[in-house]
Symmetry: C2
Subunit: 256 residues, 2 copies
């Protein structure tokens, strides 16, 4: 759009707008539209009809404008999507640990709280999960969420790259667990699960797939499947794994 800030053009799509760069404009007709208004409309649409319903034409129509009008405010649809995701994450809102006591280390409580909080954002805007992650977080709200997670990990004896790796993996873990839970919830649990298992038993070779079949024969499964606690399970496993690393480190390299 404008290239008054010469570096704004080289930024990844959406990032310049997301950070409030651009806009030295003064001349010209007053704008009725704005990135914020477009993004809001697009989010409303995605919330109610899914990400696949979001097309430039449809968003513009919902706003009462033509498709091309959006391009006066956004360089591309990609840019719109980036801004939508950033806005949908929003400010991290989980209460900062009110110094409550428990028998577990504070990094664990904090991390768990972070995970549950961001899970809620995914559940509020499930279409975020339909937008593929492209690289490291670069938008303001994503970086704020990362910041909060890193603060939870701060009291930890992990190295910088271990912290970063752990944080990114925790984010991935919440993302994929929530996606799995929502996918399963989409297909009406009882009937669809029966159908799936029935399919397996019809198609699988009892020899080549003995473990799969054994698993799905287990009566315990159906019960747990409804619980939808994949996130908690995976999270606690991963936290245990991090804790094991910390313990091992504390006992082995004392001096450092």
């Amino acid at each position: 759009m404008q290239q008054k800030k010469p570096d704004a053009t080289k930024l990844p799509p959406g990032i310049a707008i997301a950070w409030g760069l651009e806009r030295p404009s003064t001349r010209g007709a007053k704008a009725e539209l704005s990135p914020a208004r477009i993004v809001k409309a697009a989010i409303g649409l995605a919330d109610s009809e899914g990400l696949s319903a979001v097309s430039m034409a449809r968003v513009a129509k919902d706003l009462g404008f033509t498709s091309m009008s959006l391009y006066r405010h956004l360089r591309s649809k990609e840019e719109l999507l980036v801004l939508m995701v950033d806005a949908a994450f929003g400010e991290p809102d989980f209460a900062a640990s009110p110094a409550i006591e428990s028998d577990e280390p504070s990094w664990r409580t904090g991390t768990r709280r972070w995970a549950k909080a961001i899970e809620q954002r995914y559940r509020k805007h499930p279409w975020i999960l339909d937008y593929p992650v492209t690289g490291p977080p670069a938008s303001p709200h994503e970086l704020l969420w990362l910041e909060q997670l890193l603060r939870a990990l701060a009291p930890t004896p992990l190295t910088a790259s271990e912290k970063l790796n752990s944080a990114l993996m925790l984010a991935n873990l919440v993302r994929s667990s929530t996606r799995m839970e929502l996918d399963v919830a989409d297909n009406d649990s009882p009937a669809a699960f029966e159908a799936y298992v029935g399919l397996l038993f019809k198609l699988l070779d009892p020899q080549k797939h003995r473990e799969v079949l054994g698993l799905f024969s287990d009566p315990e499964l159906a019960v747990m499947e409804d619980a939808g606690d994949e996130l908690s399970f995976a999270l606690e496993r991963y936290l245990d794994g991090m804790e094991a690393l910390m313990v091992r480190r504390k006992s082995i390299d004392r001096p450092d």
Copy 2:
């Protein structure tokens, strides 16, 4: 296409073909095309130009046919994608544990080997990672990979749903780690990483983002970032977490 098998139509897209159902055909012109041939061409295209280059028209053109000819063999593009992914996974090929001795439990060795093997498939056909996971595995090769992973977990004292959850999370973990590594590798490491960090320092507020900035100031990071060992790190953490659960349960996994 044909509904001689009345249930074949109600199967998810691609599944019927993938399992070799359908095809009672005898009359009519001999087919030059086949699902297998189409899928092979599409995979070649995706390997060389990425999944976004795969359109019905382009695949048909590469084969020397018209777009619509493909629809005589596949119900939809979705079906093509399902078959592509299944074929790209292929048969699990990692050598079955040659009873080698080590100080760690066999489930751990087996799981790690499984993870590295499937990582190689992702690296061979990175576009698999661009196809979103929709639900539980239902195609033959995906189920074979799941079977192998469950066999590695078999000697474990985990319950059925714990095994299933662990397996699915391990699959997710390898998937997202590999995706991260490939994403980073795509953007030529040295320059792009510098640019990213530079961007952060330009945009972030030192107060609101102190942990993020602190992390990226750490000289240790740049070194590790090249190593590209996100998968190993996350994997070992998760395996440690699983082991902690088993130990807590006070069960012993004897070396196989």
